[in-house]
């Protein structure tokens, strides 16, 4: 069946203190907050922060599974996500700064010329 049904091998007791589904709920909550932020806010910088929140929700989830399954692959993956996120922030913020310089505005609703 689904990957969860297999019994993971020997999880350290200190990790078992917090059950896995706590992490699931936490990262789901963070992710949904991120989505709502992206959807509801119009300020480009706030949208950007919400995106970061979503990314980190995913990271947290990856780490949680990694620990519970004693599988280090996910941790490597998280490092990649963080590196790419950093690069993306650099480029994204630069774009936002340029938009602001040209339009004195960071409202995403303001930039709507690219249409039919």
């Amino acid at each position: 069946m689904f990957p969860f049904s297999e019994a993971p091998p020997e999880i350290p007791a200190v990790i078992k203190l917090v059950p896995l589904h706590y992490y699931l709920f936490l990262s789901t909550a963070l992710f949904v907050i991120g989505i709502v932020g992206v959807l509801s806010r119009r300020n480009a910088i706030v949208i950007f922060m919400s995106v970061e929140l979503m990314l980190n929700a995913v990271n947290l989830l990856l780490i949680a599974f990694s620990s519970y399954r004693s599988d280090p692959n996910a941790q490597v993956f998280v490092f990649f996500v963080m590196a790419v996120a950093a690069a993306e922030v650099a480029v994204g913020l630069a774009i936002i700064v340029m938009i602001y310089r040209n339009t004195r505005n960071t409202d995403v609703g303001f930039l709507k010329k690219l249409k039919w």
């Binding site: 689904f2 119009r42 995403v108 930039l111 709507k112 010329k113």
Partner: protein
């Protein structure tokens, strides 16, 4: 025999074609002309060399295999050349006469802006023609066959700014396609019957068949359809007179000396098959005789110098097929050789006249040219004498051999042949007298411009005149104390056919007295016809009436070429036109309805859907999130609903 030298014979003209074709307009005229003349001459020298090598050998056919070309299942077609007596004769004609015509063209085409292009095409033609006669199987012959057709098309429409010339080129191409279809079906039939297309294997396989076997008859008839197209026999001859739209050297090389004899070459090459099919031979003889008469009779009343020669070519090709039809293959090849000499000479002479007359081709506007064009006149006279079958020039020997064989086979065939020969003599002397005798009938401007052609044009004329005069001596028959070297040379070609069907090869069976009588009849007849022409056109100085005069009765029918072109127009061209109009309207209305309809639907739908692209980024993100939610819902809830159960 070195295979590389053999390969070089067709390759030299091909290289000439590549250089001239790619470098056209960048290569200076002199160099372009020099290159292709050198290529043609090089081939000729190599052919002579190969001929000598072959003479030193034991007379057996040499096959030079280069590579396997096509292998499909059990059928393997190789790229290889076969050198035997027949190939060598054709090689010498093609490269020899071809070289002379190349040299002549240097002068004839010197003022033409397409000079380099012309020589590139001529070289390409030589390449394909050599491939045709050198190939050792029917497929290679077919490649050459198609290639020369292409070159013929390109050269007929060489002055492509003139629509009627383009139409003539297309007519030649399409009529040849009809014949080529027959040839192609013949090759398929050969593959089906023998499982090979190599000459050797096919001919070996053919010996297993009985005389008159329907398989062989079918194959030979199909191949003969191909020969009808290429060699301008009834009913596919009408392209050849129109092909005179091309430059005159082209008419001489392609439409008189070489390409049109490809059909004869093919039948002689397949002589075993034809000897096994007496019915096909009968068909060949009948078609040949009909064509010989029809061509000659139309030639009687033509007024365009090249058209007369064109119908004469059709008629002479008919003679060659008469010879094939009575299984006198040697006589047919003999006539191919002598005809190549004198007809090339006639065309080149006509070219010289046209050149001098500032592109005038109507013999009614010529006359008295013998004083201004002495070399052209003398050579033209020799050629006329030769084609009329008067001794001692070449046409006499070859035509007489054909007529003697026809007589031995069927008296009626001989009678038709003699009739055609009389007409030949008449229209040729008519042409000669109207062009070179009497008073000049052209304009003042043309009269002032009259001049003998330059040396580069007259030298080939003189060489060809010598060949036309003396060429007959390679085949002096035994009755005239000759040994007929040509027959001795070619005899190994027919051994196979002799073994399977000796009946068709039985000697002439004519006494010397009969042969002398036959010769006397044809010579005296030709002389009388020539004398009649002399009386009408020199003594009485009569000139054919202009086109505006209404002709009556039979004369009208013949003058209009028996309305064959009009007949084909009504029978084939017009119905096809109507059919294409119908199909065109079908495409225009029914098909376009669908195509345009789909286009209109897509346009109107996209006009509505494009409104979705508002430019608001938040809307796009919302759509994206909704999409993800739907996918997740589908995958997790609908497909893996047990996961939800696990979770709860």
């Amino acid at each position: 025999m070195p295979a590389s030298i053999l390969l070089l014979i067709p390759l030299l003209p091909f290289i000439g074609f590549l250089i001239n074709g790619i470098g056209f307009k960048r290569i200076p005229k002199n160099l372009a002309g020099l290159l292709s003349v050198a290529a043609a001459l090089g081939s000729f020298i190599l052919s002579v060399y190969i001929f000598n090598l072959f003479q030193d050998g034991n007379g057996e056919a040499v096959i030079a295999h280069y590579f396997d070309w096509i292998s499909v299942g059990a059928l393997a077609i190789s790229f290889s050349f076969q050198i035997d007596q027949l190939t060598l004769l054709m090689l010498l004609i093609i490269t020899g006469v071809g070289s002379l015509i190349h040299i002549y063209s240097l002068g004839y085409m010197s003022h033409d802006e397409g000079f380099g292009k012309f020589f590139a095409y001529l070289n390409l033609f030589l390449f394909f023609m050599l491939l045709l006669v050198m190939g050792s199987n029917y497929v290679m012959m077919f490649i050459g066959w198609e290639g020369v057709g292409l070159c013929s098309y390109l050269l007929i429409g060489f002055w492509n700014k003139n629509t009627s010339y383009n139409n003539a080129a297309r007519k030649a191409f399409i009529m040849n396609r009809v014949g080529d279809l027959g040839f192609l079906l013949g090759i398929f039939a050969i593959i089906a019957a023998f499982g090979s297309v190599e000459f050797n294997e096919v001919f070996r396989g053919a010996t297993a068949y009985a005389i008159g076997d329907p398989v062989i008859v079918t194959i030979t008839l199909l191949l003969f359809v191909g020969a009808m197209g290429k060699s301008a026999q009834i009913p596919l001859y009408t392209w050849l007179p129109d092909a005179m739209a091309g430059p005159t050297p082209v008419s001489a090389l392609i439409h008189a000396a070489t390409m049109v004899t490809a059909g004869i070459y093919m039948v002689v090459r397949s002589n075993i098959l034809y000897s096994l099919a007496p019915f096909s031979l009968e068909v060949v003889a009948i078609v040949g005789a009909a064509t010989a008469l029809l061509g000659a009779s139309i030639g009687l009343l033509q007024n365009d110098i090249k058209k007369v020669l064109a119908y004469s070519t059709v008629s002479q090709l008919g003679y060659m097929f008469i010879a094939l039809g009575v299984a006198a293959y040697t006589a047919s090849m003999f006539h191919v050789i002598t005809h190549a000499f004198f007809k090339a000479l006639l065309f080149l002479g006509a070219g010289s006249v046209i050149h001098a007359m500032s592109d005038e081709q109507d013999i009614r506007k010529m006359g008295g040219l013998r004083k201004q064009l002495p070399v052209t006149f003398i050579t033209f006279f020799i050629a006329t004498w030769a084609i009329s079958g008067l001794p001692p020039f070449s046409g006499f020997f070859s035509k007489d051999e054909i007529l003697a064989h026809a007589f031995a086979h069927n008296k009626l065939l001989w009678g038709l042949g003699i009739l055609g020969s009389l007409m030949t003599s008449f229209y040729m002397f008519r042409l000669l007298f109207l062009t070179f005798f009497g008073e000049f009938r052209g304009t003042q401007h043309q009269r002032e411009h009259l001049h003998e052609s330059p040396g580069v044009m007259t030298v080939p004329l003189i060489i060809l005149a010598v060949l036309s005069a003396l060429g007959g001596f390679i085949g002096v028959p035994e009755v005239l104390n000759g040994s007929h070297q040509l027959a001795a040379f070619m005899s190994p070609l027919f051994e196979g056919a002799k073994a399977v069907n000796p009946a068709v090869f039985e000697g002439l069976g004519l006494s010397h007295a009969t042969e002398y009588t036959l010769m006397a009849v044809s010579v005296i007849g030709a002389l009388i016809a020539g004398a009649v022409a002399y009386v009408i056109y020199v003594k009485q100085q009569s000139v054919p009436a202009p086109d505006s005069v209404e002709r009556t009765g039979l004369q009208k029918v013949v003058y209009n070429k028996y309305y064959v072109d009009e007949l084909y127009d009504t029978l084939f061209v017009k119905p096809v036109r109507v059919l294409s109009d119908v199909l065109w309207s079908f495409g225009e209305f029914i098909i376009d309805l669908f195509v345009d309809g789909f286009g209109a639907i897509v346009t109107s739908l996209s006009n509505k859907f494009r409104k979705l692209q508002t430019g608001f980024t938040s809307l796009y993100i919302f759509a994206m999130v909704m999409g993800i939610v739907i996918i997740l819902f589908w995958n997790l809830v609908v497909k893996y609903n047990s996961f939800i159960k696990d979770l709860l």
